[in-house]
């Protein structure tokens, strides 16, 4: 089973990189981009075949390593 983890900065946390991308888009003439937030996608190949067990395991991975929950939120998608 594959899992895809999306890690994004929490709302309200300053994202200077997203802000720089927004400026660059404006410079290229893409008007009307009001905000850009940059995050990460992490894909995992799992030996686990049980969806519920996989979800529990991946959430534990997120809490322990993949996301810093002080500033980031995560979503787990099983595919």
């Amino acid at each position: 089973m594959k899992a895809r983890v999306h890690v994004m900065l929490k709302t309200g946390v300053l994202d200077p990189q997203g802000e720089a991308v927004r400026h660059a888009l404006g410079a290229l003439g893409f008007d009307g981009v009001e905000a850009v937030r940059q995050g990460k996608v992490i894909e995992l190949d799992l030996a686990e075949t049980d969806r519920a067990a996989a979800e529990v395991a991946v959430k534990a991975m997120c809490e322990k390593l993949l996301a810093n929950t002080v500033i980031e939120r995560y979503e787990v998608e099983l595919v």
């Binding site: 946390v13 300053l14 200077p16 720089a20 390593l65 993949l66 810093n68 002080v70 500033i71």
Partner: protein
């Protein structure tokens, strides 16, 4: 005083930190990240600057889950001293030994220059050798030194007098101009500037000496 300096793949200030401890009179052991234990009788652990594990995932994140990190956490929980500099500070916040996070500099640039720090408290071994409010010039060299924490944490750090150093002229967007913070028991210090790069006249400054001398003095008394 017995010091242990850890080396992760990608650490690059480990030798400098060891030299600074030695210059202050410490007996230094170098420790590899795969070691599961610290040498017997270590008083202080130094976590050096650099780019541990290539800054992959998040700065300090992988180092904070390495075998030696568990030993450092146990050492700190037993009341041992820890000094984390630059990437070492990032590792300490990732372990949870210190609160908050270090994010990309507000100006997005890597900053490498000597900066003036204000000594915000003298109530710790690390800062006992300075005067409160004194300005110390210490080099910074980082891309991710922008200290961020929630309002509650910032208020707690102030209320408990746990901000060790503040930037006089904030270079990276850190909240409250925080350059270094202490743990609740005041024995763990994380700071972005590099005191080990300011301990001899050849470095261009010696304002970092008082930090190592202060730790040395405090540990000689225990």
């Amino acid at each position: 005083m017995k010091a242990a300096v850890i080396t992760f793949p990608g650490s690059n200030c480990d030798r400098d930190l060891a030299v600074a401890f030695e210059a202050a009179g410490a007996e230094v052991t170098r420790v590899w990240h795969k070691d599961a234990a610290l040498p017997e009788g270590v008083d202080i652990v130094g976590i050096p600057g650099g780019f541990s594990f290539g800054d992959y995932l998040r700065c300090g994140a992988i180092a904070a889950r390495s075998p030696i990190a568990s030993a450092v956490i146990n050492h700190a929980e037993r009341g041992g001293y820890v000094l984390g500099v630059c990437n070492g500070f990032q590792v300490l916040v990732e372990t949870g030994l210190l609160p908050g996070v270090l994010m990309r500099n507000a100006g997005l640039k890597f900053i490498c220059k000597p900066v003036a720090l204000e000594v915000a408290t003298t109530d710790s071994a690390f800062t006992s050798g300075y005067q409160k409010g004194q300005h110390a010039v210490i080099p910074v060299a980082h891309h991710d030194g922008n200290y961020q924490a929630d309002a509650e944490t910032l208020a707690m750090l102030d209320a408990e007098d746990r901000v060790a150093f503040r930037y006089v002229d904030n270079p990276n967007g850190s909240q409250n101009a925080i350059a270094g913070i202490l743990s609740a028991n005041r024995r763990v210090l994380g700071m972005m500037p590099h005191p080990e790069r300011a301990v001899s006249a050849e470095h261009g400054g010696t304002d970092g000496q008082a930090l190592f001398a202060g730790v040395m003095g405090a540990l000689a008394l225990t």
